[in-house]
């Protein structure tokens, strides 16, 4: 199931730190992954797992200060993004990598029309004129399934429903036919019925435009429907990676197992909710051993003292857990 072509995005050893009044916090720790053309990779994890920070890092959108990418490499079609100067970086943003944000209510500027905001992307990157921008905007709105696009284009964000606004966001993201689309919780703020439509739309457009998609979510239902491969993150690090099929059928990391257990409850009535006990440890008081050890049901003594490495237990199945690796003493 590996991508046959060279990856669109190759991330290696990415580490992001935040300097706070209480000390330095490592929000993303040594994260590596690749996404191929036409492939959807999902990053899942609880709040505070570093998944959104990782997504922001792809576009170097982390506010500095307090945040900083301290190590690693992010290559888009072989081009290193972390060493780009500001002007070149601006040409990548929106043109080659586009992003959809969590809250479509907030991600549009309230004072400008839809036409103006989508047109902005076209103007910045393709240098098109007003009339041409309007025509393309209408075309994009039609592509993402906005009814009466000519009228909608002239309206303001507050005239549109949440689902419509998210479609506008997607249209904006697709304006320059990006190579990589980053969707940070694209459906969290939407109704369930609209969620399905938006996900379907992203899938369909991905196939049609041959993009790579990085999906950030905590919703395993979304993952099951859309992702080829899944990366599970916990306290800033990858704890498990697998194809979606493998992950749902045979989760190896106790954290992944816990997540799936907790998610199952939603589907079947009568089953007792099996949540993962405890909470994500404070970044200022990380356990010395495995960061999941305090909440882990399968914990062994070694977990308290040593940090497990990310090791492939099967080809293409790295897991960061002594028990799963069979290395528990």
């Amino acid at each position: 199931m590996t991508a046959p072509m060279p990856p669109v995005l190759a991330v290696e050893g990415l580490s992001v730190e935040f300097r706070t009044a209480r000390g330095v916090v490592r929000a993303v720790d040594d994260l590596s992954f690749t996404i191929g053309e036409g492939e959807t990779v999902a990053i899942v994890g609880e709040s505070g797992s570093g998944k959104s920070t990782a997504a922001m890092a792809m576009l170097r959108l982390i506010a500095d200060p307090p945040g900083r990418i301290v190590a690693g490499s992010i290559r888009l079609d072989g081009q290193e993004l972390l060493t780009l100067d500001d002007a070149s970086l601006r040409r990548v943003r929106g043109r080659q990598i586009a992003m959809i944000f969590q809250d479509p209510m907030m991600a549009l500027n309230p004072i400008y029309t839809i036409e103006r905001q989508i047109g902005e992307v076209l103007r910045l990157h393709l240098g098109v004129g007003r009339a041409e921008a309007f025509a393309q905007t209408v075309e994009l709105l039609r592509l993402v399934g906005v009814p009466a696009p000519e009228d909608r284009a002239r309206q303001y964000p507050h005239n549109l429903s949440g689902g419509m606004r998210q479609r506008v966001m997607i249209a904006m993201a697709l304006a320059c036919r990006p190579r990589l689309l980053i969707a940070d919780e694209p459906t969290t703020a939407l109704d369930v019925t609209v969620q399905a439509q938006v996900l379907e739309l992203i899938q369909e457009l991905k196939t049609r435009l041959g993009m790579a998609v990085l999906l950030i979510t905590h919703d395993l239902g979304v993952v099951a429907e859309t992702a080829h491969r899944v990366i599970v993150m916990y306290t800033g690090g990858k704890v498990e990676e697998a194809t979606a099929g493998q992950l749902f059928a045979d989760p190896r990391h106790p954290y992944t197992q816990g997540l799936l257990q907790a998610a199952k409850w939603e589907e079947s009535d009568g089953v007792e909710l099996r949540e993962i006990p405890g909470t994500v440890p404070s970044p200022f008081a990380m356990p010395t051993g495995c960061s999941f050890a305090p909440r882990c049901a399968a914990v062994v003594p070694r977990c308290q003292t040593d940090r497990p490495a990310l090791t492939e237990i099967l080809p293409g199945r790295p897991v960061r857990c002594f028990v799963a690796q069979g290395a528990a003493r």
């Binding site: 576009l59 970086l89 944000f101 992307v121």
Partner: protein, 278 residues
């Protein structure tokens, strides 16, 4: 436009603001056409000194026999021009400093805010006096002096607004599509941050008029122009025998400043609808 109609509907709800706008309009008209309809040189000695109002001259004469009405009309020009120009200059400078400090944050913010605080800690009127005293007192220097003492409050306000807007998703969105910083600051955040700034800078016109009057009262106004503060300063010595001489320009200052404040309140109601319900 639709927005303008909405603005007017909200503004109109505040009765005081409408009255203030009407009064202010009257003062503006007086300043614009008054000296043309009543073409008397305010520095000419036209009659016996210290005449009371409603005699040969509508508002009497001052200690040097100059026509008070001519002074009031010409003074309105100076007060308004200096008030508005100083407020504009202060707003421009303040917004620029505040926007940069708020948007970039970090060390740039620290540096700019220390400078701002430096100006805030100096008593503003004293600083204005010093600035005018160092340079020649002209309309230009008086305007600059008032702007120099007024911008820090705007800077602080604008900074706050920019900090509030900077982390909003639409700003992230703009950065994510590769928009340069200056465009984000000027075209994206600015229109959202401006309403409270407009309110404050409209109120600043009133303060500027007061400061200008204070400077003129102390003899630090432009010597070639009559202003209300200057007239009060001249009348100071005869306050007990000819109180009206100081009272008339004083009342003009009071009415104008009050009107501007009412207009500012109205703008606040119309532009910040969230704060309106008290």
């Amino acid at each position: 436009m639709n927005g303008l109609a909405l603005f007017w509907r909200r503004y109109r709800r505040n009765r005081g603001a409408v009255a203030g706008a009407a009064t202010l309009a009257l003062v503006v008209v007086a300043a614009l056409v008054g000296p043309l309809l009543y073409p008397v040189d305010p520095f000419d000695m036209v009659g016996r000194p210290s005449q009371p109002p409603f005699g040969r001259f509508p508002l009497g004469t001052d200690v040097a026999g100059r026509d008070v009405l001519a002074g009031i009309l010409n003074g309105a020009r100076i007060s308004l021009v200096i008030g508005i120009l100083a407020s504009l200059a202060a707003t421009l400078l303040g917004v620029l400093v505040g926007a940069i400090a708020g948007y970039y944050g970090g060390r740039i913010d620290d540096m700019l805010m220390r400078v701002t605080e430096f100006f805030l800690t100096i008593p503003s009127f004293v600083l204005a006096v010093v600035v005018v005293a160092i340079f020649q007192p002209t309309v230009m220097t008086v305007t600059c002096a008032i702007a120099i003492v007024s911008w820090p409050s705007v800077a602080r306000l604008a900074r706050g607004e920019f900090i509030a807007q900077r982390d909003r998703e639409y700003v992230k969105g703009c950065r994510a599509i590769g928009m340069p910083d200056w465009e984000i600051i000027l075209l994206q955040i600015m229109p959202n941050a401006l309403p409270p700034v407009i309110v404050v800078s409209s109120l600043m016109v009133a303060t500027a008029i007061l400061t200008e009057s204070g400077l003129s009262f102390l003899g630090l106004g432009d010597p070639n122009l009559v202003s209300w503060g200057y007239m009060i300063g001249v009348a100071r010595t005869v306050l007990r025998t000819a109180w009206w001489m100081a009272a008339i320009p004083g009342a003009m200052i009071l009415v104008t400043v009050l009107a501007i404040n009412l207009v500012g309140e109205g703008l606040n109601d119309a532009l910040n609808p969230k704060l309106r319900r008290r």
